[in-house]
Every structure is written in structure tokens, then in C-alpha cells.
């Protein structure tokens, strides 16, 4: 009992010492970061030293037909069809949409409505697993292929064909991002290895265990975008990844540069990352390409490598399973469509004091209503919070401390937007740039009165968005 306490105390002191040292290191080296706002929640990267394990194939998978930002995909299989691993089962349902592939081999049991991670009912293909038979076209060897044979156009086509989407969480179809609109040009590629969300470690492990593939993936993306310079941004709390990748890029003639960044949430936000690395500011309402930059997540870059060099569609991804109350945390390579329940079981089951199960990180992830939902392309982590961690604090009146303003990375006034949303003054909310909110949640996190600022700002975004759309129709 006492020894336990002492070790805990020891860990605590070590943690705080590390934190202070880190901060000292940060300030001394004047590491890059975005200039305005941001918070620094406890990092809690519990699973940072757990190697990526391959999760056993489940007996059944449920593959939702809408896993990307944009239009849902159109199903290509029917009940009782036999499918192989990597076989296309749904095709892109529009320009901003993506293909979906079978993650297992077996028989289609049904195509039915299920509840997905968002809590909404969606159509999904349910497959009963029989063996593990892969499409012959997929190169399953361990060998790393470094020669890039495809032309830029072929690379973009390949990412579309293989159903690659942004794996950082936004699930934006990659081929759309790689197709530079006419009149725009891309100067820099930024690979996002920031992983600023507390708890999550899947990108960190990927950089450590698949660094070589990651660099080739970066070169593929550079070829597709026709740029000569790429930056890989990594926060300074992953010194091992920074060191390893810096070593790997030493022979790339400085075309790929590793940038160590000061730990600051939400550095992984596209606009903040671009500002931190290049000093350029994406215009309000604009896209990264407007300042000549394309940003891709490390997970996506790895998927691009596998798609282009190994002909492997996106049917599995790395998921962090973590939480203070879990008996074991870890990073798993999981087939899309695997139930979250299985992942939790792998971590020793859901503790009885669990209050929240979150799909993603604690700052931007979505709380799950039920745990029997499938892992999708956008599932970067499953985080379990204890009851007392999950409960929101009592809401107090706004004391106008202006902390929400000082942490807002977008330069907004969250307290004011909340008041406007409360009074349903949508025109005014629009003038106060409600739509510029990136929903990072720094305001709600910092508010000493525990006011649900972001909830109201989201409400404002919906209504201001509707207002703008109705104006465009007229």
C-alpha cells in the first residue's frame, strides 16, 4: 500500500519534472508554434511505448457506406455475395466521396441500417468472415518499395481507386485534396505528425515503426503535387520520432524537413500548422491551397504509400485504445468494420466506472452512445474516460475573464458568440465570424465557469450556415 503510494508519488514528481524540463527546453530552443491562442491539456500519452499490434480478425464486420466527408458511397455488392479482402464493395458517390473495400473475406450477410460512431443510423454492409483471402493484386510482402513508378496523374487516380481519405479524423477524400484547382499552385507539402490530441498515440507509433514507408509516402505525395519541398511537423513531446525521422531524411537533399514544434493544442489544425511552419495565414473562409500548401496526416501518407506501392486499398488502420482506468492500453492495426466492443475487450473490458467512450481524442472526439459500433476510416482512437472525468462541471455565470478570447486560435470572441447564439442573433453571429470557428474546444476547456461555449458556437454555425445557404439560393 505504502510502496504503491510512493511509486505513484514518484511517478507524479517525475511527470511534473519532465513537464518543466520540456517547457524549459521548448522556451530555450524557441520552437515553432502558432502565435495566437491554444491550450496545453495534460498529455496523457499512456500508450506511447506500446508497439502496434495486429488485432485478430473478428467473426463479422460491419462496414458503413458513409465513412468520408462528403457524399456517401454507392454499394456494389448484394446479399450472399462472396468477397475477398481488398475487393471494392462500394464506389464513390460523387466528386467528394470515396471507394470502400472489403476488409475481410467472406459472405455478405446483409446490407442494412446500423448505428455508426456518430450515433446516427446509416447503411452498412455486414460481412460474415470466412478465412483471410486477399485480392491477388495486393503486394503482401514485407519488402519496402522505394521506387515511385506512377506519374502524378496516376498517383491521384490510385488514391481515389484505393479509397484513401484523411486519417487524421476529418476523413476528407485524399484525391480531392491532391487535385489542385486551376489557377492555384502548390508550393509546400506539410505532413501532419503533430498528434496534438491528448491520449492518442497512433500517429506517434506509425512514425516510429513505419518511418521509412512514411518518407516514401511523402515523396509520392510530393510527386503528385509537383512540389520540391515537404515539411513533417512533429510536436516536441515525441523526441524519438523527431530523431528517427530526421535521421531518415538526411539523404533526401533537404527536400523533406522535419520540424519540431512546441507542444500546444490545437497545433494539428491545418491552419495552425501551416502558420507554425510556414508563417502563412490561410485567409478567413479560405483553404490551405490559397496559400500554396497542402496538408496530409501521417496516417494518410502511410496509406498512400501502401496504395501506390503495394496496391493495397484502405481497409485497415491504426487505432489507439486508451484511458486511465483500462487495464491495458495499446495501439492496434484494426480491420475497418471491427466492432469497438472487441477493441475494448482487448484492453481488458469496459471498467464499471466508465462514464464516456470517445471515438477520437478528448478534445475533438465524439462520445459514443453505444460501444457496438464499427471502426471506420476516421477512428483514430477509442478513449475511455472515468465517470468523474466525463461529467461536466456546474455552469456558472460568465465572469468575463476573457480567457476564451486569449486561447482562441482563430481570434474569435467565444463568450460573445455564445451570447449571440443564445439570443438567436444569427446575422450578428455571422458578422462576428462564427463560421471561422474550427471547433477545437479550447474555449470550453479553459472556461473557469465551465460554460458550454463550443456547444453554442456549433449551434450558431448550423444556423449561420443555413442563413448563408438560403441567401445563396435567393
Amino acid at each position: 500500500m505504502i510502496t504503491k503510494k510512493i511509486t505513484r508519488l514518484n511517478n507524479k514528481t517525475r511527470e511534473s519534472l519532465n513537464k518543466t524540463l520540456n517547457e524549459l527546453y521548448n522556451t530555450q530552443n524557441m520552437l515553432k508554434t502558432f502565435p495566437k491562442g491554444g491550450v496545453h491539456p495534460p498529455e496523457n500519452k499512456l500508450s506511447a511505448d506500446k508497439r502496434i499490434e495486429t488485432l485478430e480478425i473478428p467473426k463479422q464486420v460491419t462496414i458503413p457506406l458513409h465513412q468520408n466527408l462528403g457524399a456517401p458511397s454507392k454499394v456494389l455488392v448484394k446479399k450472399k455475395d462472396k468477397v475477398k479482402v481488398g475487393q471494392i464493395i462500394a464506389e464513390a458517390g460523387g466528386f467528394v466521396s470515396s471507394n470502400i473495400h472489403a476488409s475481410v473475406s467472406g459472405t455478405v450477410l446483409k446490407i442494412d441500417e446500423i448505428t455508426d460512431t456518430t450515433g446516427y443510423k446509416k447503411m452498412a454492409v455486414v460481412i460474415n468472415v470466412e478465412g483471410d483471402e486477399w485480392e491477388e493484386s495486393i503486394d503482401r510482402s514485407e519488402a519496402i518499395v522505394s521506387e515511385i513508378k506512377l506519374t502524378p496523374e496516376e498517383i491521384v487516380k490510385k488514391t481515389a481507386e484505393m479509397g484513401i481519405v484523411g486519417l487524421g479524423g476529418a476523413t476528407f477524400p485524399t484525391q480531392v485534396k491532391l487535385s489542385i484547382p486551376k489557377g492555384q499552385s502548390c508550393e509546400f507539402l506539410i505532413i501532419n505528425g503533430v498528434e496534438c490530441e491528448p491520449y492518442l498515440t497512433s500517429d506517434h507509433r506509425l512514425m516510429l515503426e513505419h518511418g521509412k514507408e512514411l518518407i516514401i509516402g511523402t515523396q509520392i505525395l510530393m510527386k503528385a503535387l509537383n512540389v520540391n519541398k515537404a515539411y513533417i511537423g512533429i510536436e516536441n513531446n515525441k523526441p524519438d520520432a523527431i530523431e528517427y525521422l530526421t535521421e531518415l531524411v538526411s539523404n533526401t537533399n533537404n527536400t523533406i524537413e522535419i520540424v519540431a514544434l512546441k507542444v500546444q493544442y490545437p497545433q494539428g489544425g491545418e491552419k495552425q500548422l501551416i502558420k507554425a511552419i510556414t508563417g502563412r495565414e490561410v485567409p478567413s473562409g479560405g483553404l490551405p491551397i490559397h496559400v500554396g500548401v497542402v496538408v496530409q496526416n501521417v496516417g494518410t501518407t502511410y496509406a498512400v504509400y501502401e496504395a501506390v506501392q503495394k496496391n493495397k486499398p484502405l481497409f485497415e488502420r491504426i487505432v489507439t485504445v486508451t484511458g486511465k482506468s483500462l487495464s491495458s492500453t495499446g495501439n492496434y492495426k484494426v480491420r475497418i468494420g471491427t466492432s469497438v466492443d472487441l477493441l475494448i475487450e482487448k484492453a481488458g473490458g469496459l471498467p464499471s466506472d466508465s462514464g464516456k467512450v470517445i471515438n477520437g481524442g478528448p478534445m475533438m472526439g465524439k462520445a459514443l452512445k453505444i460501444t457496438d459500433v464499427p471502426v471506420t476510416k476516421g477512428t483514430s482512437g477509442i478513449l475511455i474516460l472515468k465517470n468523474d472525468e466525463a461529467k461536466r462541471e456546474r455552469i456558472m455565470p460568465c465572469i468575463k475573464c476573457s480567457k476564451c478570447i486569449s486561447v482562441c486560435p482563430q481570434g474569435l470572441e467565444p463568450y460573445f458568440l455564445m451570447n449571440l447564439a443564445d439570443k438567436k442573433m444569427w446575422e450578428d453571429a455571422e458578422k462576428q465570424h462564427n463560421m471561422d470557428c474550427i471547433e477545437c474546444g479550447s474555449c470550453s476547456y479553459i472556461c473557469p465557469s465551465a460554460r458550454p461555449l463550443l456547444d453554442y458556437i456549433r449551434y450558431g454555425k448550423q444556423n449561420v450556415g443555413a442563413l448563408i445557404r438560403s441567401r445563396m439560393k435567393r
Binding site: K36, V39, P41, G119, K271, R280, E281, V282, P283, S284, G285, G286, H290, V291, S354, G355, K356, V357, I358, P362, M363, M364, G365, A367, L368, K369, I370, T371, L383, L385, N387, E389, A390, K391, R392, E393, M396, P397, C398, I399, K400, S402, K403, I405, S406, Q410, G411, L412, E413, H433, G441, S444, Y445, I446, C447, P448, S449, A450, L454, R458
Partner: protein, 346 residues
């Protein structure tokens, strides 16, 4: 199990700070100054502080319970802080009935009549203080001399104000200066009559019980900056503007204007700059706004001190600038991310 899960929007984490902790931290930052005032003014300072804090909390409780009929709000600590700040702004020999009136005005008029926590446009403690200053000018400006009155307790007896003045009290440095200048004395002569700058820095001077030691107030301020409860913008701009403005006047005519350091160390300037002007709900929200607010306070303070009827003007300056806060908030917004670039493009 499943239906027991909590579902709410992100973020799912919350920082450890809350209103109570913030109020408590400000109170902690004020403690060193409080202890020093006990040392200099003895039991008087203790009585004033206890009464001010107790009655501020009491009136808040009464207002919430009887008039608003809501849950009690006294545990958030804001009423106690208001009481403490009120005590810091009055002489340590103030009769208790005056303190009770001050606490009533501060909480009742200054805070609860506008809707309570976070709603007050003016600093409640200063509303109370200025009300007392105007209503009871003699009692409010009879400052006991530091160290001379430790065990004298006149709070509970109805007293003759004249006796106060004759006994152990004297004017503040600012009062001495104002009086001297009015009589046509030279600045050098006036400076001989008042404590040295060093004495003022650590607090050996007459004044309200919490405003005397610039040193301890600055220490508390550093603590608040470290805890990120205040930002440098308001105190920084007040102190800098005071130095610049009073410095210019001093350079023009050192015979009729005191030096900048004197202005910084006397009166309630440090207390005002670090603890009163930074009151959340009565100060601007954006950083630019905070700087404008601070500059205004410093300018008004020096103007009142040099040319006004009262020797000290920090309280008035803060209250006047409080009135401008809604305008400042409207005019000075934080810089929107990506705003400049867009205007360049279009």
C-alpha cells in the same frame, strides 16, 4: 452498461481552474499585504478586514436568498474578495458602522443590482469605497500613522472626528504634497516631510490598509501572472503610462510636479493597477482594449492627482474607465486569424 454512457459534445476535458479557485488565488495574492497591514496598523486593520469581508458575504447571501430567491452564491468567493478589496481601500481606523455601509453599497449597489457575478459594469469594491469617500470624507481621510496605533481600538465607540485627526493620524504622502503645493511650498521641501521612496516601497507610510506596500502588492501580482489569472496588459499599461506621463510633467517642472517613482509608489496606484483595474467583469475583453483601458486609467489618475480636488484619483480613474468598457469592447476586437490576407487578396 450501454445506456449509462454519457454523451455530450467535445471537448471532453476541462481545465482545473474554476471561479472559486481564481477568487481564492487573488485572495492569496493579497495575503502578504494584509499581514503587513496587521503589523503596521495592528488590531484596527484586523477589525476592518473582518467586518468588511463578513458583511460583504452576508449582504450577498441576503440579496440572493431574499430578493433573487436563487441558490446561494457566497461559496464562489467573489463576495469575500470584494469585501477584502474594500477593506484594502479604507483607513484602518474606520468605524465599523461605516464599513458595514460600505459593504452594503459595494455588494448591493455595485454588484447585485446589476445581476450578480460577472454582470457588474463597475468594480464593486470601488463603488463602495467612493460612496464612503464622498459620504464620510473626514473618517475616510484620517489615516493612522504606520506603527503608531497598533493596539488602539476606536472602532466601536462613537467618536469625535477631530479627536482622530489630532491623535495618531496624519495625511498620506499625496495629501501632504497637495496641501504643500497649495501653500506654495517647493517640491524639495515637501519631499522632506514625507517618507522616502524606499520606505514607501516596502510600506512604511500612511494610507489605506492594503495599499501601502508596493513591494508586496507586486509580489502578489507576479503570483497572479504566473497563475495566468491576470495578463500583463492592464497593470503594464497603467504603470508605463504613469511613468511616461508623470515623467514628462516632472521633466518640464520638477518644482511643481512629483517624480514618476513617487506617483508609482504612493496612494492606491499599485493596488489599483494590479488588483482593482483587472477585475474581470469591469475590464475590457481584448488585449488591445485592455491596454487602452490601462492608459486611460493612468492618464486620469495623474490628472486628478495634479489638478483635481482630491489628492488621490486611482479609484475615480478606474470607475470612469469602467464606464467606457462597453465602448472599448465594441471598438477593439481581437485580430481574426486570416483577416489581413483576405483583404490583401480582394
Amino acid at each position: 452498461m450501454d445506456n449509462k454512457l454519457i454523451v455530450s459534445q467535445s471537448p471532453h476535458l476541462h481545465a482545473k481552474d474554476n471561479v472559486r479557485k481564481i477568487m481564492l488565488a487573488v485572495i492569496i495574492a493579497l495575503l502578504p499585504s494584509l499581514v503587513l497591514s496587521f503589523y503596521f496598523y495592528g488590531i484596527g486593520a484586523l477589525v476592518v478586514t473582518l467586518f468588511a469581508v463578513f458583511f460583504a458575504v452576508f449582504f450577498e447571501w441576503i440579496f440572493v436568498k431574499v430578493f433573487l430567491k436563487k441558490e446561494p452564491t457566497i461559496w464562489d468567493g467573489s463576495a469575500a474578495l470584494t469585501g477584502l478589496l474594500l477593506a484594502f481601500n479604507v483607513p484602518s481606523n474606520l468605524p465599523v458602522w461605516i464599513i458595514i455601509i460600505g459593504a452594503f453599497v459595494a455588494i448591493g449597489v455595485g454588484k447585485m443590482s446589476f445581476g450578480g457575478l460577472g454582470q457588474n459594469p463597475f468594480n464593486p469594491a470601488l463603488v463602495g469605497r467612493v460612496f464612503l469617500l464622498i459620504s464620510f470624507p473626514v473618517q475616510m481621510t484620517s489615516w493612522p500613522l504606520a506603527g503608531s496605533s497598533r493596539f488602539v481600538n476606536w472602532h466601536f465607540f462613537p467618536h469625535d472626528p477631530q479627536a482622530l485627526v489630532d491623535g495618531f493620524t496624519g495625511a498620506t504622502s499625496l495629501g501632504v504634497m497637495k496641501e504643500g503645493l497649495k501653500n506654495g511650498d517647493a517640491m524639495a521641501g515637501i519631499m522632506d516631510k514625507i517618507p522616502t521612496h524606499m520606505q514607501m516601497f516596502y510600506g512604511q507610510m500612511g494610507g489605506s490598509l492594503g495599499e501601502i506596500s508596493a513591494l508586496l502588492l507586486i509580489l502578489g501580482g507576479i503570483f497572479l501572472l504566473y497563475r495566468k489569472i491576470i495578463t500583463w496588459h492592464i497593470p503594464g499599461s497603467i504603470i508605463l503610462t504613469t511613468v511616461v506621463f508623470s515623467g514628462i510633467l516632472w521633466l518640464i517642472n520638477p518644482q511643481s510636479y512629483a517624480d514618476p517613482l513617487f506617483h508609482l509608489l504612493t496612494g492606491g496606484l499599485m493596488l489599483g493597477a494590479i488588483y482593482m483595474a483587472t477585475d474581470y467583469s469591469s475590464s475590457p475583453m481584448s488585449n488591445t482594449g485592455k491596454i487602452i483601458f490601462g492608459i486611460g486609467i493612468a492618464l486620469l489618475t495623474i490628472i486628478i492627482r495634479n489638478w483635481g480636488a482630491y489628492p488621490e484619483g486611482v479609484s475615480f480613474a478606474i470607475l470612469i474607465m469602467n464606464a467606457f468598457v462597453p465602448l472599448i469592447d465594441r471598438q477593439f476586437k481581437p485580430k481574426l486569424f486570416g483577416k489581413v490576407e483576405k483583404s490583401k487578396q480582394s
